[in-house]
Structure formats: structure tokens, C-alpha cells
Assembly symmetry: C3
């Protein structure tokens, strides 16, 4: 159980850091850092808990909020040391994605018992924090980037659910699923892995359509 | 009852297809198609169920997820055959809007008994899936297009609620409301119907305001 | 109790008016005005109630919907009289922010008893309506503007929670917190108050990062 809780806190902390990095790219003030860090850090899990119909995690345990505040302050005072904040944002986002797709699938399976719902829950909640961050900070959407993204969340959620269904202990299943997800997204970032894309032609602007 | 359930699945399927068409315009991979299809297909209904405080429909019945996956795969392999994916997107969105405004009003009336809340629920949930799609895919917002849009959802919801209040059987009320909504939005798409718009002057950018 | 209910209705009405002003800047029709007014007016409170796990306020009492409709109609027929709709939008947004951060903190404290959660609830719900408005109307995000914004919501929520914890009567605490929040945001708007911002350098576009 402890390992899965650690994964949860780790996911919140690194997603919060990505929110703070987006704030630094927009040159916000410290409160803006904390706001974007909190929304990114707790956004995915909030959606997960609302959909599952369980009490929202940070309303029950407000330590999560303090984790976000700490991450935001740390980034505020250290982001200038980095050569590329956006690259760090993408890599931390990859860690958060891997942590959250496993934790989302874990919680989805725990409360619904349905493998399909657990996988959807893992994917939705792993990606939603980053989506919120990109929309709120008007950053280029990580969802629309060419390299594999959603697939990494899907991999982690599917691996976790399959291993659990086959009776693998929680700790091992969570660790392997986390590593599988991070390997997919990390490989995509490092080597530009992509899937065959729909290539026929890009969309036209509405006014160019006869 | 069967007719209204059919309306629900039809709404999910066509909204999912619009999400997949948006994905094709952004040249995403198959998983990206499925993700956008699922978010668009189940987004409006998820908001509806959260606000009504009832279990989220696809957590109870995961067939809805499979409908979205199927729609996404079908679009992935056929979208290149279309001359204008954006036009099809708008027309399918019109069908989804008509189906969802009726189903949203039906469920809102069922669970709250308030005609006002039922109408609001119909409108919000019929438009929210498309809004999510446009924000996530960075598409031009269907909400801000010149032709009538929200009004079509309002028409369907109001017609359904009025007919039901006057004792018209569920099947007839749902069918007439669906047709009324689709006629309004379809007419707007085909003939460019608009309402008198607020015309005084467009908004200026913040930096141009003295 | 009456004072706090008044604050709630005032918050909904002025946020609704800002939504309608955004609609006028986009030259939408009357139904578009009502839609954006309603989403902005009830969006923040809806998120608050969902997270707190209590029935959504406008599902229980649909007078809130009628307040939004009235505000939208009033703006539709008077917005042309204004010299700068965007300035009015910002000032009404400041009033709504001040009203909602106090009401959000009040309701958060009432239902969770946790000061930390109450403050977060006040800030999130005060800012969420405006965020929704800006995203849906494709307006420049008020969140990313240079002057102090989130801090004003934070001030109101913290003042309310502190005064309440120290036993100050509800009416006095709510009034002082409202005034504190409005003073901070109003000062920021009038005099361009800012906090030290993260200044190292703005974010680069992803394609410019080596």
C-alpha cells in the first residue's frame, strides 16, 4: 500500500512542478506559480475522484496542497538555473503521467472492479492535469505534439490492470506498470518515437472550405 | 424507454466521430483518435451526471467506451475518403447536439423534476462535448461560429420539456424534440441562418484600450 | 446568513455580466450572451459544489439561472452605451472575484472544517468562472495578465478564514474579506500593482529549443 501512496504523492509533486515551470515561461508572480502548480498537480486526481464518486483526495488530506505549494516555491527560486525549462517540463510530465496512469487505474479498479473503466480512468486522469496546465497557461498542447503521449498512459494503465488481474502483487504490478509507461513516453521524448499518423492532409481553416 | 436509450448511444457515437475527425485534421495517431473521440463522446454526459449527482453513465456501463473506440477506428481508416472532414464534423455535431439536448433534458427532468434545470442540463450537456473537443484539439470554437448553435440545443430541450409537461408520450416527445433541434441547427448550417447579433463593434485587444 | 446569500447572488450576477460582455466583444446573438453569462456565472460555484460533494446550488434553486438570464439580457441591450466593455468586464470580474472567494471559503469551511481546504476552495471557485469565460470566448486569459489577480482571491479567502477562526461574526468577517479582496484587485487594476515576477526570460516556442 505504501508504494502506491508514494506514487500518488510523486505524481502530484512532479505535475505541480510542471505547472510552475509553465508559470515561469509566462513570467507570472509567485502566487501565479502556486496556482498553476496546484491546478496541474491536483487537477487529474480531482477529475478521477469526481467521476468515481468518491471524496476528492485533497479535501480529505490537505498535505497534497502543501506539496504543490512547496514544488511551486522550489521552481520559482531555481528555474533560472535551467537551460531549457520546457524540456524539464516535458520530462517531469512524463514521470507524472507514468505515476498517475498507474494510480488512476489502481483507484478505478478498486472502486469499480471493471478493467475497462480502470484503464480509461488511468488514461484520463494521467493526461488531464497536463491538459489543464496547457490550456490555462496557453502553452502548446502536449496532447497534440507529434511524439507518443496518450499511448504511454494507456500502456501503464493496461500493464497495471493485466498484472493485477493475473494476481501479481500490488507493489510489483505498480512498479512494472510505472516503468513501462515511463519507458514509452521517455523513449518518445528521447528518440522521437511516433506511431503511424493519420497523414492524408492537415485540416483547413473553416473559411477555406468551399 | 428503448428509443431514449438509442438516442443516448447515437449521441455518444456521433460526438465520438466528430472528435476523431478533429484528430484527423490534427494528424494524430490512432490512440490520439480514440482519446479525442472518447473525450468528445462521453464529456457532455459526464458533466451532466456529475451535476445531477448520479453515477457517471460509462462507469456503470462500459459499452459506451467501446462505442467511442469503434467510432474512432472507423474514422481513422475512412476519413481520407471525405472531401471535407470539417463539414462532416459540423453535421455530425448537429446530430449529436440534437440527441444530447433531448437526452440531457430527459435525465434532468427525471432526476430533478424542475423544467428550468432540465432545459439548462439539456443545453449544457449537448454543447459541452463539442466545446471540450474544440479546446483540446485547438479547433475554431463551434460556439463562436456565426450561425445559430446554442439555440438549436435550447429548442430541443424546451420542446422536449414542454411536450412532456403536457403529457405527450416519451417516444413522441423525444422524436419531435430531436427533429426540432436538428432542423434548427441543420437549417443554420445549410442556409447560414443567424439571429440578430450584437453588432455595435467587435472587441479590441486589451493593449488597444486607453 | 442573509449577507452571505446576498454575496452569492451578487457574485453570480456580476460574473454573468462579464460573460455577457465577453459575448458582446465576440458579437454573438442573444442566446450566445445567455449561454456565456450562465457558464461564467455558475461555473465557479458548480466546481465548488462538485468538489465539496454537496448538491449543485443551481440544481436546488433555479433562481440563479434566472439571474444569469436577466444579466445577459440587460448587457445585450446596453453594452453599446459603454466606451470600453473590456474595462467594465475587468472591474465586474473584480467584484465577482471578491464575492466568490469569500463565499467559496465560507462554504468550504462549513462543509470540511479545514482552513487550508477552505482557502483553496475560495481561490479555485473565484477564479474558475473567469477562466471558463476566457477559454470559451477565446479572450485573453485574465489569469496571465500582468497585474495581481489570484492574490486578490487568496487575500479574501485568507482574511475570511482567519477572522472566522478568531471568532469574528460571519457578517463582519465576510464584509471585511470582500473589501480586502476587492481593494487588492481594484488597486491592481487602477494602479497596475504587480508582485515581483519571475523575470529570467520568457518561454521559447518548442521548435526553438535545441
Amino acid at each position: 500500500m505504501d508504494a502506491i501512496v508514494l506514487l500518488d504523492y510523486a505524481g502530484v509533486a512532479v505535475f505541480a512542478a510542471t505547472g510552475a515551470l509553465a508559470a515561469s515561461r509566462k513570467q507570472l508572480d509567485l502566487i501565479g506559480f502556486i496556482f498553476l502548480a496546484a491546478v496541474t498537480g491536483i487537477g487529474g486526481g480531482t477529475l478521477r475522484d469526481l467521476i468515481l464518486g468518491v471524496p476528492v483526495f485533497w479535501v480529505i488530506q490537505h498535505l497534497y496542497i502543501l506539496v504543490c505549494v512547496t514544488a511551486a516555491i522550489a521552481v520559482f527560486f531555481t528555474a533560472h538555473l535551467l537551460e531549457s525549462r520546457y524540456k524539464l517540463l516535458l520530462w517531469l510530465d512524463a514521470i507524472g503521467l507514468a505515476a498517475y496512469c498507474v494510480f488512476g487505474a489502481y483507484k478505478g479498479l478498486l472502486f469499480t472492479g471493471s478493467p475497462v473503466v480502470a484503464v480509461v480512468m488511468g488514461v484520463l486522469t494521467a493526461t488531464f492535469g497536463g491538459i489543464l496546465r496547457d490550456v490555462l497557461a496557453e502553452e502548446p498542447s502536449v496532447l497534440l505534439r507529434p511524439e507518443i503521449y496518450v499511448t504511454a498512459a494507456l500502456t501503464g494503465a493496461v500493464v497495471y490492470v493485466l498484472l493485477t488481474v493475473f494476481g501479481v502483487p500490488l507493489f510489483v504490478a505498480a512498479l512494472l506498470a510505472f516503468l513501462a509507461s515511463f519507458a514509452v513516453r521517455g523513449g518518445a521524448l528521447a528518440f522521437g518515437w511516433t506511431f503511424p499518423r493519420y497523414r492524408s492532409r492537415p485540416g483547413r481553416a473553416p473559411e477555406d472550405i468551399p
